[in-house]
């Protein structure tokens, strides 16, 4: 196992409590930042670390922080995105449940850099039990003087609270999250203005993923340069990967981003290989929104190089032969899995989760779901494959928020790499039904329910 910066203490008994967390060196980053550093110095360390947002887009965190507007007398906010709804992703829940104080500590240190005096953690409603864990941790932090007025006598005030969603993937999109936090429907806003200028209640706001904020703690403790030494190229530091699918050891792993994909899938330290001695068929390396890779592009790039678990290497080859690290939701498919069925399943998800503001997304996702359903259930036509290609192309780039792209990319990649399997579904409708889960005949004509 490589170096662990976030989960190194995860197995220490009682690390979820304040006393143990503190005894293990917790809240040192707050002491260091507030007593010895200016907010600008904290920001500089984060810039030096090369930390990139762990929510999916991988935007450099230091740069994002430097964009926050600072008009006189206007409050600033730091929001933690704990909505975690991208299929395949479950790392934030793990981190918050096991080491809630790491997130609280990261929120204090990060807010100090931004000059924000109020922060909110927005957690998905289904994680209600985690919300209670966080509220307990926050109460402990208040009792021990890490939150509230004049923290450590530094003159810096910071209040932190948790609020929640109620079952809407779209609220992970930062402007939808802000709408939801204001008690509205989760409809993304048109940008600009960006949240850094007009965010929560029209005030300057930064939204960061749970893991991004947690990573600020080791960056301040050990220095940005130390953090930047880990990993490779612009993929600095460690990354939490949620591994699921047909593997022997699913779960959350903290990796250094210079390990190979092959090692990650087959080593006993990580996924432990494909379950039941089966063969690898495909892999979605970064959550349901990123392009699926066929087996021959998983461990090697098109150029024949070893593929690494880094932002750059997973994206090598662009969408033609590569994918994305995304949120680190790593889903592995064995030889028995049906790509058409999986694509239909993901498309149903996006149709269900589209907020409905933009026609290409609202209508296009439902249309693709219908077409994929008829292909999967044995009454598709050859033209349907081109039709799908056409629909996804018209969604991509034509919506207010990137949910449209997230719905289009998996469909495009499935057709790009597995066109033969789509054709097989048209040519051999009965065999594909038998092969896929041995479904019974009457289910073939089941109508689509949205």
């Amino acid at each position: 196992m490589g170096r662990q910066l976030l989960l190194d203490k995860v197995n220490v008994a009682g690390i979820n409590t304040y006393d143990v967390y503190r005894k293990e060196g917790g809240y040192r980053s707050v002491e260091k930042a507030l007593k010895k550093m200016t907010p600008e110095e904290v920001l500089e360390e984060v810039k030096t670390s090369g930390l990139r947002g762990r929510g999916g887009a991988g935007f450099p965190t230091g740069m994002k922080w430097s964009f926050i507007a600072k008009p006189e007398g206007v409050p600033r906010f730091l929001l933690c995105n704990a909505d975690e709804s991208e299929p395949g992703t479950f790392k934030d829940r793990y981190l918050m449940e096991k080491i809630p104080h790491l997130l609280v500590e990261g929120m204090v240190t990060s807010s100090y850099a931004l000059g924000a005096n109020q922060g909110y953690i927005y957690i998905r409603g289904e994680y209600m039990y985690v919300l209670r864990i966080l509220e307990k941790a926050i109460a402990e932090a208040y009792q021990n003087g890490w939150l509230g007025k004049n923290i450590l006598g530094s003159g810096y005030d910071f209040d932190l609270a948790v609020t929640c969603g109620a079952g809407a993937y779209i609220c992970g999109e930062e402007t939808a999250l802000i709408e939801s936090l204001e008690g509205e429907r989760g409809n993304p806003r048109i940008k600009p203005p960006f949240p850094a200028v007009k965010g929560l209640w029209q005030n300057p706001t930064v939204v960061n993923n749970v893991e991004t904020i947690a990573a600020v703690v080791p960056i301040i403790n050990d220095g940005g340069a130390e953090y930047a030494k880990i990993g490779i190229g612009r993929s600095t530091g460690t990354k939490l990967i949620s591994a699921s699918g047909n593997i022997n050891k699913p779960g959350v792993f903290e990796i250094e981003m210079n390990i190979t994909v092959e090692e990650f899938i087959y080593s006993d330290q990580y996924c432990g290989g494909i379950k039941n001695g089966k063969k690898l068929k495909a892999c979605v390396p970064g959550g349901s929104s990123v392009p699926i890779l066929p087996h021959y592009l998983v461990c090697k790039t098109a150029a024949g190089q070893d593929r690494l678990m880094s932002y750059e290497s997973l994206a090598d080859g662009g969408f033609a032969t590569g994918s994305m690290l995304g949120s680190g939701g790593f889903v592995v498919y064995d030889e028995d899995q049906c790509i058409v069925r999986n694509t239909w399943n993901f498309t149903r998800f996006y149709h269900h989760e589209s907020c409905g503001q933009c026609s290409p997304c609202r209508e296009g996702t439902g249309w693709m779901e219908k077409v994929l359903h008829r292909l999967e259930y044995g009454h598709g036509k050859m033209e349907d494959i081109d039709l799908l290609w056409d629909i996804q192309r018209k969604i991509e780039g034509n919506t207010i928020c990137p949910l449209g792209d997230a719905a289009a990319w998996p469909v495009a990649a499935a057709i790009r790499h597995f066109r033969e399997e789509f054709e097989w579904h048209v040519n051999e409708p009965v065999r594909c039904l038998e092969k896929n889960y041995g479904l019974v005949a009457e289910k073939v004509f089941e109508p689509v329910t949205a």
């Binding site: 479950f90 909110y120 929640c164 079952g167 809407a168 949620s242 998800f349």
Partner: protein, 174 residues
């Protein structure tokens, strides 16, 4: 009128919690408490009836329509009656390839209901839902605040029996 009032008003404990949540936000921004208050109401009443939503609107000094539009947007809120125990089975990709569909049909057959329906005795509602952030522990279902992971038919049998005996167990972190 009096009867409606009695069934929609929050208990003193609930009101204290609402008060605490409102105070997490700056003055005048009490609407931000809405999503959490709706969760409190739903945990208590089982679902969100119109008089309950109107009551919440009064509590937060907002218009009833502002409550309805939020309650109907988010998939966790039920604006029609459901069973005392909601079994929400994840149906998304990673769970699907680990047998979520088999679990859903198993529950359908066991309870004699289809996805989305409630048993005649009003105890169980089965609902297939999208990814709950437990993909590595698939197949899984959520009941109240509790995650049940690595489901097997035997596990489903056991938890249905337990919930039948004590439908409130789902909010007590069984």
């Amino acid at each position: 009128m009096e009867a409606v009032k009695q069934t929609t008003e929050f208990t003193p404990e609930m009101l204290a919690e609402v008060d605490r949540i409102i105070k997490l936000f700056p003055e005048g921004k009490q609407k931000s408490a809405l999503l959490r208050v709706l969760h409190i109401a739903q945990a208590h009443y089982g679902w969100l009836d119109v008089p309950v939503m109107d009551y919440i609107a009064r509590l937060l000094h907002i218009q009833p329509i502002e409550v309805y539009e939020v309650a109907t947007f988010y998939s966790m809120y039920d604006t029609v009656p459901v069973g005392k125990v909601k079994l929400e089975v994840c149906r998304t990709g990673p769970c699907a390839i680990e047998g979520a569909e088999k679990i859903i049909s198993y529950i359908e057959n066991k309870l004699g209901i289809k996805d989305g329906e409630t048993t005649a005795d009003g105890i169980f509602t089965l609902k297939s839902v999208e990814c709950l952030g437990a993909c590595g522990y698939a197949p899984m279902l959520q009941c109240g605040e509790k995650y049940h992971e690595h489901l097997t038919e035997e596990k489903v049998d056991a938890l249905i029996e337990a919930y039948r005996k004590n439908p409130k167990a789902n909010y007590m972190g069984m």
